[in-house]
Symmetry: C2
Subunit: 435 residues, 2 copies
Amino acid sequence: MLSHASRSTVDEVVEPITDIGAYMDQLGQQARMAATVMRSLDSGTKNTALQAMAANLASARTELLEANRIDLERGRENGLDAALLDRLALDEARIDAMIEGLHQVAALPDPVGEIDGLRSRPSGIQVGQMRVPLGVVGIIYESRPNVTVEAASLCLKAGNACILRGGSEARESNAAIAACIRAGLREAMVPEAAVQIVATTDRAAVGHLIAMTSYVDVIIPRGGKSLIERISKEARVPVIKHLDGVCHVYVDTDADLDKALAIAVNAKTHRYGTCNTMETLLLDAAVAEALLPRLVAAYAEYGVELRGCERAREILPELVAANDSDWYAEYLAPVLSIRVVDGMEEAMAHIDRYGSHHTDAIVTENYGRARRFMAEVDSSSVMVNASTRFADGNEYGLGAEIGISTDKLHARGPVGLEGLTTRKYIVLGDGHIRV
Amino acid sequence: MLSHASRSTVDEVVEPITDIGAYMDQLGQQARMAATVMRSLDSGTKNTALQAMAANLASARTELLEANRIDLERGRENGLDAALLDRLALDEARIDAMIEGLHQVAALPDPVGEIDGLRSRPSGIQVGQMRVPLGVVGIIYESRPNVTVEAASLCLKAGNACILRGGSEARESNAAIAACIRAGLREAMVPEAAVQIVATTDRAAVGHLIAMTSYVDVIIPRGGKSLIERISKEARVPVIKHLDGVCHVYVDTDADLDKALAIAVNAKTHRYGTCNTMETLLLDAAVAEALLPRLVAAYAEYGVELRGCERAREILPELVAANDSDWYAEYLAPVLSIRVVDGMEEAMAHIDRYGSHHTDAIVTENYGRARRFMAEVDSSSVMVNASTRFADGNEYGLGAEIGISTDKLHARGPVGLEGLTTRKYIVLGDGHIRV
């Protein structure tokens, strides 16, 4: 029944896949069957599979690098830009990181089977909630081949079967990684259909995957805004999505200016291309005059371009003028917009209007405002006196993350193993009936 | 800015609503603005509003009954069947129940602001999760006017703004209830747009409501299967849905037959029209011969029609033959299908194939099989030695429920206040930056 899993590597596909719908349906059926087995696998078996995958990656370094070389070569021929080629590239260090990631996931506590809040009810029954796998998870991603390992390992540890659809530009690399994963599953006697990689680069496959409600429980897209918007729009299966991160730091009138400076610089310059990077800095009018010149000097060292509102430009006329589209922008680049506001209310209104509800921080020594900001700002992470760059599964102690959800339902913020599970009610009785 | 809320009662609508899209947009905008206020309301204010609503309902009994009389009369003219008319009808007892429900929701602990698992990370930050309102909840329901009170009260207590779309057959009753709710909000100084009732019976309003992703965070449909399927299919806003309840009781080879009999009778006959009623009884072959005659006698007292598989009919030839569609059927009536199976594996395979993942129970004294059934059956409630009829928000101690979710994401099983909230991450630092 799992024979079709052999299609998961490109090199094993003998005949071309002509009927995409039938092919995807078959992957779906196989995943559903595997999920039935997966939900009762013990932790030991899952960890054995993860460790076997790690060992297989370690002994397939040559094959992985060779497969990746083919992808890179084709990518260069097709004119991929340098950033894409960098994301696509594997080297010894990145292979080491994949191996290390597998060991880390193996070391995480297994969330499956955990029972919360079991309590007795007046009727005599006991009621609690048991954490269980979601079932079948579909993950759609772009060029980075290491996502194949991350996604497969987290889904496996959470007891799910997964169907992975990587970027066509990484197809040889993904096929080589898939071979290591599949061998690891086989060695641990886990059904091979627990991790299936879509073996066609036909875009129609994605359309089928996100519509197979009887086989797929959730879709997690990882990639650019246009990919995620297309999937959210067309999916019939529920989607855990990660849209953009337009993150703010608000420096309150009672801020410690040294902390404010350190946080503002770190939140912008620690990495430019990440979703938890600050894109707009909001300065309370009471601190703007003192802080702006220090900020300008600090950002100059990093070559960050500053764009200011009118009031910021009154203080420092040399700032480029920000326009309305700057407040909505996720620059993902050494550019920062700065706005001077009158108090926290105005800061929170700005965040509500222009932000993406990802991660927002206040810098303040004022207890009441810290408390209000935390309660009222409607973002997946809200911070006091800390850099937005902390919004990350590893920093939060989740061990690993499959993405950062900007949705409100189910999982919000960094999504780790828990977000890949659900909870069902369990009821224990001894012949109890309802009266 | 909230002036349009006066449209929420039919009798106050002066001009007819011609542009449904613009009207729904306005409700959406008002709800979004109200939600911003709602998320920081303290519990006391919310409880004051709930109690004021209860007092208003109590002093508006005459108006409520009169409005309901008009709905019932029109319903009879339009040929509504007896069951629908019964659901539509208000009387003193049902008004009392609505009032009592409001007091109960006021007495529930406020979930908003609860912080879980705050812990220190190696970086020095503290990370936890804070429970916060979802934002704007859209609820679409059918004839029962008391749902207006239940939905409004639970949404309010969870700190959400809500847009309610009741059945057109209950429009006068809903308008009279809405007046009591709105007055209660006003008395407690809560924005009136916290609870808005769609004042048009035009079906296009539903189409707009379920597509307003910028204003509505979640849609909860309550009603028949066709309503819910239509909404799930067309919605662009996430849906918490409650599909059918094809619930099973499996009587294991090690069952105590007295408990099995009591549970089987209770799960079927306690109420016929509810989603947690058992629709199929699975009997292990080892107990079928001893138990079937006792079951037949017991069900005969309640006039329950039994439909059996071939093996059941070998034991009792007088049983009606069940066909494949019986195993999929949610009878919602005094009808029960019975199947004899060889062991728990076959029972679980039947539940997986034909069930709706709502509520399933095993009757057994065997520890290992109880444990396995609980872990492996993939339903929103899984029970050991208890009647499926316990799957209910009140029985589980949630206080009240807005429905029973058959979804896996976000909320599964009975949905109470917690299901109407989400959790965001909070990070406490003291100038911490990421290194």
